[in-house]
Amino acid sequence: MNALTPITAHTGRAVALRRDQVDTDQIIPASFCKRLTKSGYADALFAGWRKDPGFVLDRPEHAGATVLVAARNFGTGSSREHAVWALRDGGFAAVIASSFGDIFRRNAWRNGLLAVELPEEAVAALADAAEADPGFTVTIDLAGLTVTAGGDRWEFTANERQRRLLMEGLDEIAVTLAEDEAITAYESARHDWLPAAGPRTTPARSRARL
C-alpha cells in the first residue's frame, strides 16, 4: 500500500443508522466483491437496503454527510476490506459506534476511515442529534483523541500504531520492511519441520522505502 495523505482530524455532518450488528454483507453484498479494484464501490454501499426508497442514507437532507453514527458491533462478519472501500467511496470519513467487528476496525483505520468507539449513551446522543438536525456536525480529533459535537466532548482510545501511521501518512508495509533484519533472524531460527506449501525458497526481500 502506498503512503496515505496524513489525517489529523475530520469535521463533517452526521447521519444515524440505528441498527445493531450491521454486518459487512449489508455494507457491501458479496456479488460486488468480484471487482479487482480498490475503488469505485459507491454504488455497492448498502446495496440491499438502498432498494428501500426511505432508507436513511438516501434522504436528501442527509446528502453529503461524512460521519456515520451506527450502533453495536458495526462491521461484524466477513473480512472483506471492500466494506471500508464502499463506505469511503460513499463519502464517509468516519463511523462512530459503541462497538465494531475487530477485522472491520483494523481495515477501516488502515484506509483512513476513522472507526471511533464511544459509550452507548454517547452514540445514542449523537444519533438523536443527527436525526433532529441534518446539519448536526461532528469533529473527530486524532491528536487529542476526542469527539466534539453540539457542545459535548468525549474521549476515545485508538490503536497507537494505527493512529501514528495515519497522522504521519506512513505506509505500514514500508515501516515493517525496516525490520528486515529481525524478520530474517527469526526465520533462520524456525523449526525445520514447519509446514511448506511449495518448494522451500530463500526469502525474497523487498526494499524498505519509507
Binding site: 450488528q21 473480512s79 483494523r106 525490520e179 524478520i183
Partner: protein, 466 residues
C-alpha cells in the same frame, strides 16, 4: 519455573519477531492462505511498489468463492476474471495454487487441514474471516483484510496488539444428536454475536476432548460469529492421529521432533484467562437460528421468541427487524417452519464427517416434494472419500444434488444463489439478510438437522424421524 501460560500465550510468544514498548508485537506468520476474492488488490499493491512475495513457500492459493459446483467452467465473466487473475498472480510470484479441476481443489479452510498444512502451535492467516477454523489444531489462526494480505505477502509478518484471552468451558458430555454446530450456536446465543470481540477463545472441557477434528474445526470456524478474533483447542491424541501421514505433515524424525514440541503447547495448570464463560453442554439440544445474526438461535424443539421478551431495547428492535425479514411470527414452533431449500456444505460443515451425518439421516428416505437439496463437499478430496463410502449414492437415491466442491450457497457470490424470498436450512455460518441471495431467508443448522429437514420439508431434528 516460569509463570503458567495459556495455549494462546505460548503460540503468541513463540512468534514474536520483534517486541518493543509502546508498539504492537511483530508476529511471524507460518502459513498464509490466499483465495481469489480478497487478494487481487493486494497483488496490485505489490506491483505498484515493486515489492515481492517474501515467502511463496509459506503461501498456498485456492479457488473457492467464485467457482461453480456443477461444472468446471465459470460462466460469470467477473468471477472468471477474478480466478484467472489469481492464477496469473500466483504464476508471477511462484505461489502454489490448487485450481478448479485439480484434485486438491476445494474450500481453503477444508483443503489446508486435510493436506496436513495446519499444525499445532503455528500461526495461520487468510483474507477470510473463517480462518478461525484452523484453531482446531492449536494454531493461532485469524482472518484479515486485503491490506493485511498485502502486508503478509511482502513481509510474512503482522504487527498485532496482544489479544485478550477467553476460556469457554464446556461442562458435561454432549447429549445424542448434539453436534459441534449446535454447541457453538448455543455459545453464540448465550454470549451474543459480539460476545467475544477482541478476544481469542480457548475451548475446553470433556465435550471438546470428545470431538473429532472435523467437529473441532466446525466449532473454531464459528468463533468469528461470536466476534472472536480466533478460537483454539489444545492439541491432543485426536489431533496427532488426524495429522499423521497427511501429505504436508512432517514424517519420520521430523514428526518426532514436532510432536515433542506440540506436547508442550496445552495451557498450563493455573494459567489465567482474561475472561471465562461456562456452558452446560449436557443440557443442550440441536439448535437453529430464527433471525438474521448467528446469535439469534434457539433449540429446534422450541418456538420463535417474542421480541417483547427481550429486556434490552436494542435487542428488541433487532428481533422485530429480524422477524419481519424472516417473515416469522413470535410463538411459531420452529418445527412448523417450512423450507424450500436445504444446503449441506461450506467451510463450517463440508467435511467428510458432516456428509456422513447427513447421509445417515437421508439413507432410505426421500427429499420432500418441493424441496431442493444441495450437497456440496468442501473439497475434491472430501468428494472422493464420500464416493468411496457410497455416500453420493445415498444422496442421489434421496433426490439430493451431489456437487463439486466450493463455497457454493454459503455466500451468494457464485451461481449457487437463492433468488427471491426463498427459505433455506443451511449448514453454513451466516444467516445475514441477503447472504444466500437477495431476500433469501436462512436458518443455520447442523448437517443432521439439515438432512432431516430435507426429508420432512420443515425444520426437524433427526430424532423427529425416528
Amino acid at each position: 519455573m516460569s509463570a503458567p501460560r495459556t495455549l494462546i500465550d505460548k503460540v503468541w510468544d513463540g512468534h514474536v519477531v520483534r517486541r518493543r514498548a509502546d508498539d504492537p508485537d511483530l508476529i511471524y506468520i507460518d502459513l498464509h492462505l490466499v483465495h481469489e476474492a480478497s487478494s487481487p488488490q493486494a497483488f496490485d499493491g505489490l506491483r505498484g511498489t515493486g515489492r515481492r512475495v517474501r515467502r511463496p513457500d509459506l503461501t498456498l492459493a485456492l479457488e473457492d468463492h467464485n467457482v461453480p459446483t456443477d461444472s468446471l467452467t465459470i460462466a460469470d465473466a467477473m468471477g472468471r476474471e477474478q480466478v484467472e487473475t489469481l492464477r496469473r498472480n500466483c504464476a508471477e510470484h511462484g505461489i502454489t495454487v490448487y485450481s478448479l479441476g485439480d484434485g486438491r481443489q476445494g474450500i481453503v479452510h477444508v483443503v489446508a487441514p486435510e493436506r496436513g498444512l495446519v499444525q499445532p502451535g503455528t500461526t495461520v492467516v487468510c483474507g477470510d474471516s473463517h480462518t478461525s477454523t484452523h484453531g482446531a489444531f492449536g494454531a493461532l489462526a485469524f482472518g484479515v483484510g486485503t491490506g493485511d494480505v498485502e502486508h503478509v505477502l511482502a513481509t510474512q509478518t503482522m504487527p498485532l496488539a496482544r489479544p485478550r484471552t477467553m476460556a469457554v468451558e464446556f461442562a458435561g458430555a454432549l447429549p445424542p444428536d448434539v453436534t459441534a454446530k449446535d454447541l457453538m450456536l448455543a455459545v453464540i446465543a448465550q454470549i451474543g454475536a459480539n460476545g467475544a470481540n477482541g478476544h481469542v477463545i480457548e475451548y475446553r472441557g470433556a465435550a471438546i476432548e470428545g470431538l473429532t477434528m472435523e467437529g473441532r474445526m466446525t466449532l473454531c470456524n464459528l468463533s468469528v460469529e461470536a466476534g472472536a478474533r480466533a478460537g483454539m483447542i489444545a492439541p491432543d491424541e485426536v489431533t496427532y492421529r488426524y495429522l499423521k501421514g497427511r501429505p504436508d505433515a512432517p514424517s519420520g524424525d521430523a514428526w518426532d521432533r514436532a510432536e515433542r514440541h506440540w506436547r508442550t503447547l496445552p495451557t498450563d495448570e493455573g494459567a489465567r484467562f482474561d475472561r471465562t464463560v461456562t456452558v452446560d453442554a449436557a443440557s443442550l439440544a440441536p439448535f437453529v437460528t430464527w433471525g438474521t445474526n448467528p446469535g439469534q438461535a434457539v433449540p429446534v424443539d422450541s418456538a420463535v421468541p417474542d421480541p417483547e421478551a427481550f429486556a434490552d431495547e436494542a435487542d428488541r428492535a433487532a428481533a422485530e427487524r429480524a422477524l419481519a425479514y424472516m417473515d416469522l411470527a413470535p410463538g411459531t414452533p420452529m418445527r412448523s417452519i417450512a423450507v424450500d431449500t436445504v444446503f449441506i456444505g461450506s467451510c463450517t460443515n463440508g467435511r467428510i464427517e458432516d456428509l456422513r451425518a447427513a447421509a445417515d439421516v437421508m439413507r432410505g428416505r426421500k427429499v420432500a416434494d418441493g424441496v431442493t437439496a444441495l450437497v456440496v463437499p468442501g473439497s475434491m478430496a472430501v468428494r472422493r472419500a464420500a464416493e468411496e463410502e457410497g455416500l453420493h449414492e445415498v444422496f442421489a437415491a434421496a433426490g439430493a444434488q451431489w456437487r463439486l466442491s466450493g463455497c457454493s450457497m454459503c455466500l451468494g457470490m457464485n451461481a449457487d444463489r437463492l433468488v427471491g424470498p426463498r427459505r433455506c436450512a443451511s449448514t453454513s455460518n451466516r444467516n445475514y439478510e441477503g447472504r444466500q441471495g437477495d431476500r433469501a431467508r436462512t436458518h443455520l443448522v447442523s448437517p443432521a438437522v439439515a438432512a432431516a429437514t430435507a426429508v420432512t420439508g420443515r425444520l426437524t431434528p433427526p430424532a423427529g424421524l425416528r
